[in-house]
């Protein structure tokens, strides 16, 4: 099927790196350190105090990035809000689980309310006063790719601008769980949120073209799946100027960068990679094609192809 090009017109990321409101950040990014802290912008500039006081880390990050992104894009109210999250609102989930198992009397409800996966998307709609389509995808390491696929479908169905993003948050118990389950993380475990405005039209300042997104779950995959994806898009591995990968590098690409070393490890880290790629495409004219190859889990593959905006 011939898919029309879609434009990424704005991006906003809060992470352990200097990504927030810092165009050109991709040029000078060092690997994320175990000691690096999550950046914390002045949240009051983005979120109403009445809402902010209840918000956990993941909610603050998400709403601030969403608002920043909408402001940058200048496209007004988005037609839809689509969010991907691998593990959802862990801080509130653990808090209520703890309360539920330890408190004998009445239980405070706030952490329960905010434990549901769609709290980010819901809070963004509340913060923007948005009545459009509001969706939350949670498919492990492919949650963000599924959100992107949904957003792309909405644009093909007639929407003009969609706010799409991803968020995951770190809580201390994850370190313990990772150690106990012998999960080998190649970089520190981190938190982050990234939001984007995806549009059918280039309003003049689009940073990148989203050419295609593909996911495959529940099966082994290999280089042949990547080659087939590129072939469907009229490309070969040699046409890829930069492959941002998690797991195994992309054979044949001009340059491979392990994005986990920059973003840290969290289920929706490919959203960080997307912002990184957009930033690079916007500042380095020699980069034309970027492939994000998300193989964070061996049975799940997510592929996202970006192209430079034609002048």
């Amino acid at each position: 099927m011939n898919k029309p090009a879609l434009y990424l017109s704005a991006a906003s990321t809060i992470s352990h790196q200097p990504t927030f409101r810092n165009p050109g950040f991709s040029a000078a990014l060092a690997p994320v350190e175990a000691s690096s802290a999550l950046i914390s912008p002045d949240y009051k500039a983005y979120i109403d105090a009445g809402l902010l006081r209840r918000m956990s880390k993941i909610l603050r990050m998400s709403v601030a990035c969403a608002r920043d992104c909408i402001e940058q894009a200048g496209t007004g109210q988005p037609d839809a809000i689509v969010v991907g999250t691998g593990l959802g609102c862990l801080q509130d989930t653990e808090k209520f689980l703890n309360t539920s198992l330890t408190v004998e009397g009445l239980l405070p409800p706030t952490s329960f309310i905010q434990s549901t996966h769609n709290t980010m998307a819901g809070q963004i709609s509340l913060s923007l006063g948005n009545h459009g389509y509001n969706m939350t995808h949670t498919q492990n390491t492919l949650s963000f790719e599924h959100a992107l696929l949904d957003a792309a479908m909405l644009l093909r169905e007639g929407d003009r601008n969609v706010l799409v993003g991803a968020a995951d948050e770190h809580i201390d118990i994850l370190e313990d769980i990772v150690a106990q389950l012998a999960f080998e993380a190649s970089a520190p475990l981190t938190s982050a949120a990234s939001f984007f405005v995806l549009s059918v039209e280039n309003q003049g300042d689009a940073k990148a073209v989203l050419a295609d997104v593909y996911t495959v779950g529940g099966t082994k995959y290999g280089q042949e799946d990547i080659d087939a994806f590129l072939d469907r898009n009229g490309l070969q591995a040699g046409d890829i100027d930069l492959a941002l990968y998690a797991g195994t590098p992309v054979q044949g690409a001009a340059l491979n960068v392990d994005y986990l070393s920059l973003a840290g490890v969290y289920p929706t880290g490919s959203a960080f990679a997307l912002h990184y790629a957009m930033d690079l495409l916007g500042t380095n004219s020699e980069v034309r094609n970027v492939l994000i190859c998300n193989g964070l889990r061996k049975s799940n593959l997510g592929l996202t192809l970006l192209k430079a905006v034609e002048a």
């Binding site: 009445g50 006081r53 209840r54 009445l106 239980l107 405070p108 409800p109 706030t110 309310i113």
Partner: protein
Amino acid sequence: MDSLKEDLKKQIIEQLNLEDLTVADIADDALLFNDQGLGLDSIDALELIVLLEKYHGIQLTNPEEGKEAFKSIDTMAEYIRKRKAA
């Protein structure tokens, strides 16, 4: 100074994460659920019910009953005193 009212203000600030407020910022007669007052909502009302039980040993099982009691610090203090006297 009415120590019950001061305690209530401290407890409310903590229970509801009103980090920007101090006890001095909350007037005894300020309307808690009005935007001109503290601008609390239905989730806060439930948190206040928890607060009443946790700090004052008072059980309020019908949220509707809370509406009158939670109008202001004055009415909350009055409600607590009445329940304790009963």
